[in-house]
């Protein structure tokens, strides 16, 4: 365990000093601040940030994570030539990527909320926004490990990372809508429900929109979710599904990491 913490400590230092991570933090900072200046109230800023969080966090987490892992390949080999177990190194690497990415988001969004006093009256919504952002970071960082360990070639890996993001954040909902129109004469609520559970970005959306009672506004999936679960159960189910979305890719990535020939 102490080896994991040592590795994590140095990974954190390395990643926190990364230029792109600083840019990522500033992006959230400037955007959130600007939304406060133009839009005003905390609840409206949270709503505006929803779509940014749902698209940007998965994109940055998976692309930054994949690139970082390709870049660190020889360093990983050097570490594995030390008296270090593969499991420890994997844990250190995952923590060293996910923690700085999550912290960047928390700071970038949290600070403007603090100095504009936007949390008062919106505490639950704000907490859910931060929670969904952190969970999506964990999910897509785990997916970055799967992608980077699956493809030897870094151009292929980057392509696959972008494709995963495109599928989850953009194409999935379109395909779902298409399916709904095709099968409109059949009862499709239950399959749609299942389909939502299968996409982490949709889960994040459900989590956020159930909170605002705007689910009907933001697409079919939210509406179905609300009708079947009601707010509280829906929140818990989507939360659990997001955790599963972290655990399963992480276990898969770890398995590959343990077996891989470097």
């Amino acid at each position: 365990m102490s080896t994991v913490l040592q590795l994590l400590g140095y990974e954190l230092r390395n990643v926190f000093r990364n230029r792109w991570l600083i840019v990522y933090t500033l992006l959230f900072l400037v955007l959130t601040d600007a939304l406060f200046r133009f839009g005003g109230s905390g609840s409206r800023v949270i709503l505006s940030l929803t779509n940014v969080v749902l698209a940007l966090i998965p994109l940055v987490s998976i692309v930054f994570g994949t690139m970082y892992l390709y870049h660190a390949r020889e360093f990983i080999e050097l570490m594995l030539a030390q008296p270090v177990g593969r499991r420890s190194l994997f844990a250190g690497l995952y923590g060293g990527l996910a923690v700085p990415l999550a912290m960047s988001f928390l700071l970038g969004v949290g600070l403007p909320f603090a100095w504009h006093g936007g949390v008062a009256g919106n505490a639950t919504g704000f907490a859910i926004l931060l929670g969904a952002g952190v969970l999506l970071t964990l999910v897509f960082t785990a997916l970055a490990f799967v992608v980077a360990l699956r493809f030897q070639d870094r151009a292929m890996g980057l392509g696959a990372a972008i494709l995963v993001w495109l599928m989850a954040a953009v194409l999935y909902d379109g395909l779902l809508l298409l399916a709904i129109t095709w099968f409109r004469d059949y009862p499709v609520e239950k399959p749609i429900l299942v389909a939502t559970l299968l996409n982490p970005v949709d889960l994040g959306r459900v989590l956020l929109l159930l909170q605002f009672d705007l689910s009907a506004l933001m697409g079919y999936t939210g509406a179905v979710f609300e009708r079947f679960f009601g707010s509280r159960t829906g929140t818990l189910v989507s939360l659990a599904a997001l955790l599963a979305w972290t655990a399963v890719p992480l276990a898969g990535g770890m398995r590959r990491f343990m077996r891989k020939d470097w």
Partner: protein, 245 residues
């Protein structure tokens, strides 16, 4: 090869095979590295030199065979690597850490070790560079740090992959001295290099690998006698031609 059976073995490789997809990279490699000597792995490109080293380090898991480092089998327990110092190609340290942080990082991975050998830091006059982030260091300076890490824990087995690549002549001679001193103390060294004069200066044993098979293993003297060539470059060239013919 007579002494190889009498001297205690630092490294014992038996029947090691590895296939990547369709490519049989190593084909039943047997080799014993006598303790306290410098062995150079020589061979054409894609002969399996790096794969063999990676098998010893546990980075690549062989399909068949067994490797022992000072009697400890290479397997899932990483503890045997505490006695190995490794100098990989290209000095791949995290860009945003400083030299000091890199040294502290590798030290933290061996919590039992209190005393280290940082004599190379002084000999390379590396002190002032250690406070700077790795990304600002030149290739040569990184390679010096790489050498420091390899010798830091007084390893019993040192594995050097193209060690003098990127080093200036002075630094390169300092490193060769260090290798010499280490072997005088009984340290075993495994070396790969494209520079034949370097191998001639350092190594007393040669392991000649072609297409994943050991084609020759013995002392430099035996190699000269077998091939009738005095210079290593010619001897190796002769071995390679003999294989083709």
């Amino acid at each position: 090869m007579s002494h190889a059976t009498t001297a205690p073995a630092a490294l014992r490789i038996s029947g090691v095979a590895k296939r990547f997809g369709k490519l049989q990279v190593l084909e039943s490699v047997d080799s014993v590295l006598p303790e306290g000597r410098v062995t150079a792995i020589v061979g054409p490109n894609a002969a399996g030199k790096s794969t063999l080293i990676k098998c010893v380090l546990g980075l690549v898991r062989p399909d068949a065979g067994r490797i022992e480092v000072f009697g400890e089998p290479v397997g899932t327990d990483p503890a045997y690597r505490a006695r190995i110092g490794y100098m990989p190609q290209g000095a791949p340290f995290p860009e945003n850490l400083t030299g000091h942080e890199v040294l502290r990082l590798v030290r933290s991975l061996r919590p039992g070790v209190t005393e280290v050998d940082d004599d190379l830091v002084h000999r390379f006059a590396l002190g002032p560079e250690l406070g700077k982030p790795i990304r600002t260091l030149s290739g040569g300076t990184r390679q010096k740090l790489n050498a420091v890490v390899a010798f830091l824990f007084r390893p019993s087995l040192v594995i050097l992959d193209e060690p003098t690549a990127g080093l200036d002549p002075l630094a390169s001679s300092i490193l060769k001295e260090k290798v010499q001193e280490a072997t005088d103390r009984g340290v075993t060294v495994l070396l790969t290099s494209h520079i034949m004069s370097e191998i001639e200066a350092l190594a007393s044993e040669v392991l000649f690998l072609v297409e994943g098979k050991v084609h020759f293993q013995g002392t430099m003297e035996q190699l000269r006698r077998t091939t009738g060539e005095q210079r290593l470059e010619h001897a190796v060239a002769r071995l390679m031609r003999a294989r083709v013919a």
